[in-house]
């Protein structure tokens, strides 16, 4: 839903989301997280704190992880956004990070998970063969209250293996 007519000045924003060009009309203050969730109905991006700490809302902006709760939707004009919905080829064909999370039991309630998936996807594009220590550091900007992180670290390592086996899956995401 866009803002009410007559209440706030609205702005047309064109952005690419998960490879598809989308247009939204939003007030200047609309957060990217809210635009994704409510304007574009991509509810896979979750808002956990609205102050940039928890990382649940992390999306990729031109391949780089960004807190979508700290970014206005209007700033996404012309940029390519990847959400968790875009981290696999389709719901039935998941990306390596997603598959690794299932295999390693890297999620419990699943609320923080999309932010980890996007963060790790970007990280592995940069560092495809991390050490366990690096993997732990890579995820330390995202909060999870369920898992104690151990299986998420494991999932990073496993995702690196899976991506190495099928390199196309990883590169498609940042493309």
């Amino acid at each position: 839903m866009t803002a009410l007519p007559g209440t706030e000045q609205l702005h047309d924003v064109t952005l690419t989301v998960n490879g598809v060009q989308r247009q939204i009309t939003v007030p200047a203050r609309r957060l990217l997280s809210d635009a994704l969730r409510h304007d574009l109905q991509l509810t896979g991006t979750h808002v956990g704190c609205e102050h940039g700490v928890c990382g649940s809302c992390t999306v990729l902006v031109d391949g780089q992880p960004m807190r979508s709760c700290l970014m206005f939707a209007v700033s996404a004009q012309g940029h390519a956004i990847t959400t968790v919905e875009g981290c696999g080829d389709s719901p039935e064909r998941m990306g390596p990070v997603q598959r690794a999370f299932i295999e390693c039991h890297g999620l419990q309630c699943g609320f923080c998970t999309p932010g980890f998936i996007t963060t790790i996807t970007a990280y592995l594009a940069e560092n495809p063969a991390p050490t366990e220590e690096q993997a732990r550091e890579a995820i330390s900007g995202n909060l999870c209250r369920c898992t104690g992180y151990q299986n998420i670290v494991k999932a990073v390592m496993r995702a690196a293996e899976l991506a190495a086996e099928a390199p196309t899956a990883a590169s498609e995401v940042s493309a």
Partner: protein
């Protein structure tokens, strides 16, 4: 996905990947905040900035005229239907219980209480308008400190005349389960050892990742509430009991729920306020809180002072324990509320056998956020106290920390064992778990390194912490809850529907929010009915689908709910047997059921239970008088609690020059009885450990002297990140529970309960030789450093 051929012969014990994950991980989630309904309005709450104040006037006119605003409500506007946030556990008929209105009419009792609600066309417009609601307050004196509350000098609720809610005592001499603790202490003062300590259980915030959200649709015959709750069934009861809506007119749905840890075990003001506004306006309404609203308004946990007296003989044999608690309930008696400290009453004696015990909790109100269950609820507090004391006793009598426990614990061949608190532990094997943990930990080598570092005066010292814990899980036998004046039962319900085409619907009253019920329960049913894992669909969290339930908390879902499933499955089999016999032209007595097939004993003739289901559905050829249904329902009420236990060992490095701590290794060997899914179990243990370590080292809710929560965001309230933790070494021993057919004991809270004392024991152990015998939680570098600086003085503990 997994084909039938891949089905392991036995599902129970397999590390099945979770059914839940696929949609959660691809973004196809169903959080309450995702829900959009036609004509739906969005709510924003106006909250009190004061800890204690009289509301003198509320001017809503400017807000009501703001763009997109449909209506603004004060407490008075919804007084006829808003209901009450009741407590289910008044400790006695004498308990003083302030009425907890979702939106108070005259007086606010903690900062963050709702005073008005704005309904608007968007969440942003509602929040804008909330700023325009003009509330006049007359500030009242606030009582914020628990010990000050106990003096009654300032009252949290002047109309109650006291801050004391209730006092509850368990005395082994009075109960006939042991001797007189005062006598034991007096004797120890003459001939033995007496350890007296006061420990602080700081206030914690559950900090589940999904902020709470509620959507209410009042437009149908039933009012439907989607809400981020652990307890849809309990919530429906609370709504029906207090708002005037008949129970049959309420449907509560907990869709995907993003963690709870006890924090969503509540009937909340926000749920009730949203319901009231939706009913008043006749339109769907949604309220989703901000993180800071979660922190200030969602209930907190712990918050006790523990005065403890442990007495022993000079060789370290414990002879008695006296526990005096001060418990802060916050501003109101919450759903479990005053019962939380009572849940610890049976756990201070832990795995030890000693002859005299007295537990007293004095519960007080303060003008702070209400306090209720948080992962472990009463049991972590108790376990912390006794496991810290056992280390203190070991130090006092000069015995190793493991040896002091071994000397006092219940031996494997002594089970079943009735404790001094009157609880009968049905099974356990503390020796086995401890032996395994010591081996994995390399205990002797670490002790040698510790000695070497002490001898060399290394600025970085090593400490070893031990925690041999038990807990009572599987809440709970209804009769015991009744005897404790708890307002509900502890049973759980399950139904099984055999569908015509061979798949199975399982309905459970346990409501998952991240635990993996769908997977674990499928494994149980797949085994019991001999059907493929993927043929089982587990449905939960909707009072219209699983109509009866007591929901999920207290490590109860698998222990109680799993057993209900087994019994429902057995009923299905018994309903199918005469039909199978009829179809096989045999006597029911000659028909055996195994691995999903009924066979005539001694022959090859057989029919699968799914074929029987199809034949039953057609109803064409059933025995006379047999109903055309295999569906069955079972409600299981346990006879006892379950008693998981384990040995947790932690090595901490402490920089004595800076107070910085670093976890070097953590080993835990848990005995949770039968394991249905080891993958899920490990995950529960890891997450539990993280939360317990959070209490030990990082977390604490703090207020300023005006009663404002100063840890109201995830910047200030520091839950552990990956960088704060290490890889834990986990293992298990298996001593099944004896009173259920599955033998499961529960695992949801184990890690949290055990880890806090293990970590603090390790930190204290690292600097004990410097004269430190306590560090107040959370053991921040500042507190550790101060404890070292002030070692031996009154300021020991680092809190000052």
């Amino acid at each position: 996905m997994t084909a039938v051929d891949d089905r392991p012969e036995v599902e129970i014990g397999q590390a099945r990947r979770r059914k839940e994950d696929h949609r959660l991980i691809t973004g196809r989630t169903r959080w309450t905040d995702n829900i959009q309904l036609p004509g739906m309005l969005h709510l924003a709450m106006v909250r009190s900035p004061f800890a204690h104040a009289t509301i003198t006037s509320i001017d809503t006119s400017e807000a009501a005229a703001a763009p997109g605003v449909i209506a603004v409500f004060t407490g008075k506007d919804i007084a006829d239907i808003q209901g009450v946030n009741i407590t289910a556990w008044p400790l006695s008929a004498n308990q003083k219980t302030p009425t907890h209105l979702p939106v108070p009419l005259e007086r606010v009792s903690h900062a963050g209480e709702i005073v008005a609600i704005v309904a608007a066309r968007s969440a942003a417009l509602a929040r804008d308008a909330a700023e325009l609601v003009d509330v006049d307050y007359d500030e009242l004196p606030a009582v914020l400190d628990l010990k000050e509350a106990a003096t009654d000098a300032v009252l949290a609720h002047p109309d109650l005349g006291t801050n004391k809610s209730d006092v509850w005592t368990l005395d082994s001499a009075a109960a006939g389960t042991g001797g007189d603790v005062d006598e034991a202490i007096a004797k120890a003062r003459e001939t033995g050892v007496v350890i007296e300590r006061e420990y602080r259980q700081q206030r914690l915030i559950p900090a589940f990742m999904e902020p709470r959200s509620t959507v209410v649709d009042p437009t149908g015959e039933q009012v439907v509430m989607w809400t981020a709750t652990q307890v849809p069934h309990v919530l429906r009861f609370c709504i029906a009991a207090t708002t005037g809506l008949p129970e049959s007119k309420i449907r509560v749905i907990a869709p995907d729920v993003g963690g709870g840890f006890g924090g969503k075990l509540q009937s909340t003001p926000e749920e009730f306020a949203t319901l009231a506004v939706a009913r008043k306006l006749g339109r769907p309404c949604k309220y989703t809180e901000t993180r800071s609203e979660t922190m200030v308004s969602g209930h907190h946990g712990r918050d006790q002072w523990q005065r403890l007296t442990l007495c022993a003989t000079k060789d370290g044999t414990v002879t008695g324990l006296k526990v005096d608690l001060l418990a802060d309930l916050g501003a109101y008696a919450a759903l479990v509320g005053g019962g939380v400290p009572v849940l610890g009453a049976w756990m201070f004696n832990a795995i030890y056998k000693f002859p005299a015990y007295r537990f007293t909790t004095s519960n007080y109100y303060t003008n702070k956020t209400w306090v209720d269950a948080y992962r472990g609820a009463g049991r972590p507090e108790a376990t912390y106290a006794i496991e810290r004391l056992m280390d203190e006793l070991a130090a006092e009598v000069g015995v190793d920390a493991i040896a002091i426990r071994e000397k006092n614990w219940i031996k494997h061949d002594e089970f079943p064992f009735t404790t001094v608190a009157g609880m009968t532990y049905d099974s356990g094997n503390y020796e086995a778990a401890t032996e395994r943990a010591l081996e994995l930990f390399g205990y002797d080598a670490l002790r040698a390194e510790q000695a070497q570092r002490r001898a060399s005066g290394d600025p970085v010292q090593l400490g070893i912490g031990v925690s041999t814990f038990t807990e009572m899980c599987g809440l709970a036998p209804s009769r015991i809850l009744g005897a404790l004046n708890y307002g509900a039962g502890g049973w759980e319900n399950a139904s099984i529907r055999m569908l015509s085409t061979g798949t199975v619907e399982v309905l459970t009253g346990a409501s998952a929010h991240g635990q993996g019920h769908e997977t674990a329960f499928s494994q149980i049913v797949a085994d019991r009915l001999g059907v493929p894992f993927d043929s089982v669909e587990v449905l939960h969290g909707d009072t219209q689908i699983s109509t009866k339930g007591m929901d999920t908390y207290g490590s109860r879902s698998l222990v109680v709910g799993g057993e209900a499933l087994v019994r429902a499955a057995d009923k299905v089999i018994e309903k199918a047997r005469p039909i199978a016999a009829h179809l096989l032209e045999a006597s029911a007595d000659d028909v055996e059921f195994s691995a999903g097939t009924f066979t005539v004993r001694g022959t090859e003739k057989g029919i699968s239970i799914t074929d029987v289901a199809l034949q039953t559905w057609t109803g064409h050829n059933l025995p006379d008088g047999v109903e055309p249904s295999l569906d069955a329902d079972a409600t299981f009420d346990p006879d006892n609690f379950s008693f998981p236990h384990g040995t947790h060992l932690c090595a901490m490095e402490v920089d004595t020059e800076t107070g910085a701590t670093r976890m070097r290794s953590y080993v835990c060997v848990d005995d949770i009885g039968t394991v249905i899914n080891p993958l899920i179990v490990e995950g529960q243990v890891h997450g539990g450990l993280a939360q317990g370590i959070g209490q030990a080292l990082f977390e604490g809710a703090e207020y300023d002297d005006q009663g404002t929560l100063t840890t109201g965001s995830l910047v200030d309230y520091t839950i552990p990140s990956a960088a704060d933790l290490i890889n834990f070494v986990t293992d298990r021993t298996t001593t099944p529970a004896t009173y259920t057919s599955l033998g499961t004991k529960g695992v949801g809270e184990a890690g949290t309960i055990a880890s806090t004392p293990a970590v603090v024991n390790a930190v204290v152990d690292a600097v004990r030789h410097l004269g430190v015998n306590d560090i107040v939680m959370p053991c921040t570098p500042e507190r550790v450093w101060k404890a070292i600086q002030h070692a031996g003085s009154a300021a020991n503990g680092g809190a000052q």
